[in-house]
């Protein structure tokens, strides 16, 4: 929603090489390598069978090892005084405490007793109170306009009867985000201070973001117990990495003058960190906070599968009875929450960038803290009002609106009138593109592919990158995941191509037209936060289960970064360069292709990188419509509670992501050098 930071950072440094030798070699290297590959693929089958299908006898039984390790951690691991499980349960209880408080405030009220025998002592904040407080926060952060926007978002929740569920979701977000921010900040600071720690942390962050959540859901459940706490832990694993990354980046970009100043006035190490560095990096850090919020909201559906409840559960339940309207309403409620929280955090980020307006004068509590005072007043007034008029406490059902069966009817109408046309399109793409490509990829020898990837790594980033890429690709084959991995690569590859074909031109169009860009932003914000499950079922109705449906779901999600980074790149092009081009008599077309797109290429490549990451993160969802890839493997492992199997498949997905990321980043670096 904001200019999102790259998920994965490039680590490779360009290798200086003698340019003339390099180009001469490059000219011959690729054709030769490709020719060798094709020859080997066509005729190598008899020579080296092992290179085509990895011999079972040499497979690394990683799944079994991981399964055993989890069992050991669960049953035996001990620190002497307490066991590992005691530790994780202790952490779970610490997280549970603020969650109970938040849930009590927003949803259940103050209860005494447990379970159904609990008696409500004090009612929760009424809808009116929450609405007013949110408006107040909006006003504090960004004035009247923002206040109106967030009120509208929360008003949507009230009006469409999503309030109770939305407050449950909000309660878990309210708990997860601060924990994610604090832990991420501390990790980032530690990595900034100790380079050794950074070297360990960065690959771990990569894995945390690329392993699908389903893969570690079972261990999380086992260690942290069933319920909202586990859901929060899973959310944290997924949402925390950007904060750590942003912190490292932000700390590095603090100007050295400021540090010198700190040294001059004699700061201790602690003062240096907390009084100088963190405050001066505040605006960058707020971007991290924003990312944590957005990613936490992305997790709502999955979290609801393991006991978080709330809006995610409503979406799932509605779609199980094929109530498309209800699913959409609950899905849009998640979008409304996301938009409100996103705009609020962005407004605070902007505010943090500006100098503080000075502390208002006055001695009284009210004049020193006008907003806090107003919030307290609201709580008291609405509490009393809620006691007197029940409708102010919980919004009466009779006033709620719903789209009812409208959306189901729309889908039905499309289905009856356009199915044949849609079917024709589907068949053409499926039979002429998807199926042949899938067969081709499945046919390639793994050993050859690994070698080619390593070669690409060597050309783009040197020996270290070659080694990394080669080993990761080999591990996918060695753990017996190669076949499923090719299906994964095929599905993601096709989707990424379509996403770029749609996204980049749209981005180019929108970059020059402000109005279009504003509308498009709304669309892509929705696409990014609307749970894909909501549109997946109507798509199934129109295109049946299978790869084509999966592809649509992936494209719908992965097109977002393709658009966003294209626009970002074009906006960043120095207007003076464009002006110079115009002065030299370039046509608008030349300006676009020869100047703007060339200069924006690194950003567009970063967008491609993100498109791939987004596509891979959708894999698990596509397993729900019957694809047969690594995502499905993870899903099966989840339903069989097979920790080892899930994590191995999850790691394979992560490896694919890391390989793609490193190669593209290295490529982008080279282009950036050439351009500058």
């Amino acid at each position: 929603m904001s200019a999102s930071f790259p998920f994965l950072q490039p680590v490779s440094e360009p290798i200086p090489e003698n340019p003339s030798i390099a180009t001469a070699r490059a000219r011959w290297l690729w054709p030769a390598a490709l020719a060798a590959f094709v020859l080997f693929w066509q005729f190598g089958d008899g020579l080296a069978k092992w290179a085509f299908s990895y011999p079972r006898a040499f497979e690394i039984p990683a799944a079994r090892w991981i399964g055993k390790a989890t069992k050991w951690l669960l049953d035996e691991a001990s620190f002497g005084l307490f066991t590992f499980t005691d530790l994780t349960r202790f952490v779970a209880q610490i997280i549970d405490l603020p969650y109970r408080v938040a849930l009590g405030l927003l949803s259940t009220g103050l209860l005494s007793g447990q379970g159904s025998s609990a008696v409500q002592q004090v009612p929760p904040l009424s809808w009116l109170a929450v609405l007013a407080i949110v408006a107040l926060i909006g006003h504090h952060a960004g004035g009247v306009r923002l206040a109106a926007l967030v009120t509208a978002c929360f008003g949507f929740l009230v009006l469409f009867g999503q309030w109770t569920s939305a407050m449950v979701t909000l309660a878990s977000i309210v708990v997860a985000v601060p924990i994610g921010v604090v832990v991420g900040l501390l990790l980032g600071l530690a990595a900034w201070r100790w380079p050794v720690f950074e070297r360990v942390l960065v690959p771990v962050l990569d894995l945390m973001q690329t392993i699908p959540v389903f893969a570690y859901l079972v261990p999380v459940l086992v260690f942290f117990g069933f319920g909202p706490t586990s859901a929060i832990v899973a959310t944290l694993i997924y949402a925390l990495p950007p904060m750590a990354r942003v912190t490292i980046l932000a700390m590095r970009s603090v100007p050295s003058e400021i540090r010198d100043l700190g040294n001059m006035v004699g700061c201790s190490r602690r003062q240096m960190t907390w009084k100088i560095m963190v405050p001066s990096a505040k605006d960058s850090l707020m971007v991290g906070v924003n990312q944590v919020i957005m990613l936490s909201l992305n997790m709502v559906i999955i979290a609801s599968m393991i006991g978080a409840g709330g809006l995610g559960f409503d979406v799932l339940a509605a779609l199980r009875r094929l109530d498309i309207g209800a699913g959409l309403e609950a899905g849009l409620a998640i979008v409304a929450l996301a938009v409100a929280l996103d705009r609020l955090s962005q407004a605070y980020a902007e505010k943090a960038g500006k100098p503080a307006a000075g502390i208002p004068a006055g001695n009284g509590f009210v004049s020193r803290h006008p907003y806090l005072a107003a919030a307290l007043a609201i709580i008291v007034v609405t509490f009393i009002a809620g006691l007197a008029v029940p409708a102010l406490q919980s919004f009466p059902e009779a006033w709620q609106v719903s789209t009812g069966t409208f959306w189901s009817e729309v889908v039905r109408w499309i289905n009856i009138n356009f199915f044949d046309a849609l079917e024709a399109i589907r068949n053409v793409i499926l039979l002429n593109l998807l199926v042949p490509l899938k067969r081709l990829l499945a046919d390639l020898p793994w050993a050859g592919v690994v070698a080619l990837l390593a070669l690409a790594g060597y050309r783009l980033g040197g020996l270290r990158l070659a080694l990394l890429v080669g080993v990761l690709a080999f591990l996918i084959a060695a753990t017996g995941q190669w076949e499923k991995a090719t299906v994964t690569v095929y599905l993601c590859g096709v989707s990424v191509v379509f996403a770029c074909l749609i996204g980049v031109p749209l981005g180019i169009l929108a970059a020059e037209r402000d109005r279009l860009w504003r509308w498009l932003q709304l669309v892509i914000d929705t696409l990014q936060t609307l749970p894909s499950f909501v549109y997946l079922m109507p798509v199934v109705m129109l295109f049946r289960v299978g790869d084509f449906t999966a592809m649509i779901a992936v494209v719908a999600y992965a097109v977002v970064p393709a658009i966003r980074y294209t626009v970002l790149g074009l906006h960043r092009v120095d207007p003076r360069v464009v002006e110079a081009g115009r002065a030299m008599g370039c046509t608008p077309r030349q300006i676009l292709t020869k100047i703007k797109l060339k200069l924006a290429l690194p950003e567009i490549l970063l967008g491609l990188n993100q498109t791939i990451m987004f596509a891979l993160s959708m894999l698990v969802i596509t397993a729900l419509v019957g694809t047969r890839d690594l995502g499905q493997e993870v899903y099966i492992a989840l339903t069989k509670a097979d920790t080892g199997r899930g994590i191995v498949a999850g790691l394979s997905i992560a490896f694919i992501a890391i390989i793609a990321d490193r190669l593209i980043s290295a490529g982008a670096n080279r282009i950036r050098e050439r351009v500058s």
Binding site: S117, F226, I306, L316, L542, A641
Partner: protein, 321 residues
């Protein structure tokens, strides 16, 4: 989903006060901790669970509903984080249940009284295109296969099976019975019914895996294919059945829907344990209730309250000392 539970929670709180006055002495030795019942994402299970919950509340127990994934919940049942799961289908949950009960930490609380049925199913209008149905042998004819085909599978017919995680041995069945069909697996049951809804709206051919109790057989008119009846030997011994060289040459098993739970329930809440074991409800009752919720748009809590009012002698028998 939340509102009904919470509302009924408040209601129950008041009920509990009155119940506690009369029941408290008898339950004095039992734990007052809440009994955690798991909720999944299909209506029938929500109804079953809420009926059990309401009954336990009437007996003076504190009850908490926790959302949990159908199969992932076993992790919680084993550790005692969760206590009772009201619907574990013989047909889909057997393996996970056996693995869990083998640890000794999970106990099978017996049958719910409902029978899970699942089989190949087709809408009524397909009978015109393939007149021999519901007899499975009709599917062997080329014309029938053609009628059920789509471009990718033609000339073979297309059968939409359940998610791979459900098992079901449909690939083996097609092989053993030599049916000219291709098995396509849906990823989730939501996808399964989305396809059925779509085909039914267009009166288009479809043959798929349907299970009951569920709202689909109530909403759509259709029939189950009649395969040779299931027997244990048919699945294990190739010699048994129509095809002497292959197993799985028969229909799918019918099976009870089980109640399972944490094995500590027995000692912690002996009275509740007895009540859960006594719980019993049949397919027709459940089918009617699911229809009321999913098709008539009533709330789960309303339907449960209706059932409670109409069946008071029955459930009070479950909680009798």
């Amino acid at each position: 989903m939340f509102q009904p539970i919470r509302l009924s929670g408040m209601l129950a709180a008041t009920l509990c006060l009155s119940a506690a006055l009369t029941m408290a002495p008898a339950r004095a030795q039992e734990s007052t901790d809440p009994i955690k019942l798991t909720l999944h994402d299909w209506t029938g299970q929500l109804i079953t669970t809420e009926i059990m919950g309401e009954v336990l509340k009437k007996a003076g127990y504190s009850v908490e509903y926790v959302q949990a994934d159908y199969l992932a919940q076993f992790a919680g049942l084993e550790t005692g984080d969760l206590h009772v799961a009201m619907e574990m289908w013989e047909t889909t949950g057997r393996d996970a249940m056996d693995a869990a009960t083998a640890t000794g930490k999970v106990e099978n609380f017996g049958e719910t009284g409902m029978q899970a049925k699942e089989e190949w199913w087709y809408p009524d209008y397909m009978k015109e295109k393939c007149p021999g149905l519901p007899n499975w042998e009709a599917l062997k004819s080329e014309a029938c296969a053609e009628a059920f085909s789509i471009p990718e599978t033609a000339p073979k017919g297309r059968y939409l099976g359940g998610p791979v995680t459900w098992g079901g041995f449909d690939d083996e069945r097609v092989e053993a019975l030599d049916l000219p069909f291709e098995v396509i697996h849906a990823g989730t049951d939501a996808a399964l019914f989305a396809e059925l809804e779509s085909a039914y709206q267009r009166q288009a051919p479809i043959l798929l895996w349907i299970y009951a109790p569920h709202w689909a057989p109530a909403k759509y008119k259709g029939e189950w294919v009649e395969f040779p009846p299931y027997s244990k030997e048919c699945y294990t011994d190739p010699a048994v059945g129509v095809n002497p060289d292959a197993a799985y040459d028969c229909g799918k098993p019918f099976g009870p829907i089980w109640k399972v739970g944490w094995s500590g329930v027995k000692d912690k809440w002996p009275g509740a344990y007895a009540a859960i074991k006594a719980f019993n409800i049949n397919n027709d009752e459940m089918g009617a209730m699911i229809t009321k919720v999913d098709l008539d748009g009533k709330k789960v809590s309303e339907v449960v309250a209706e059932w409670m009012a109409a069946n008071e002698p029955r459930w009070s028998g479950w909680i009798k000392k």
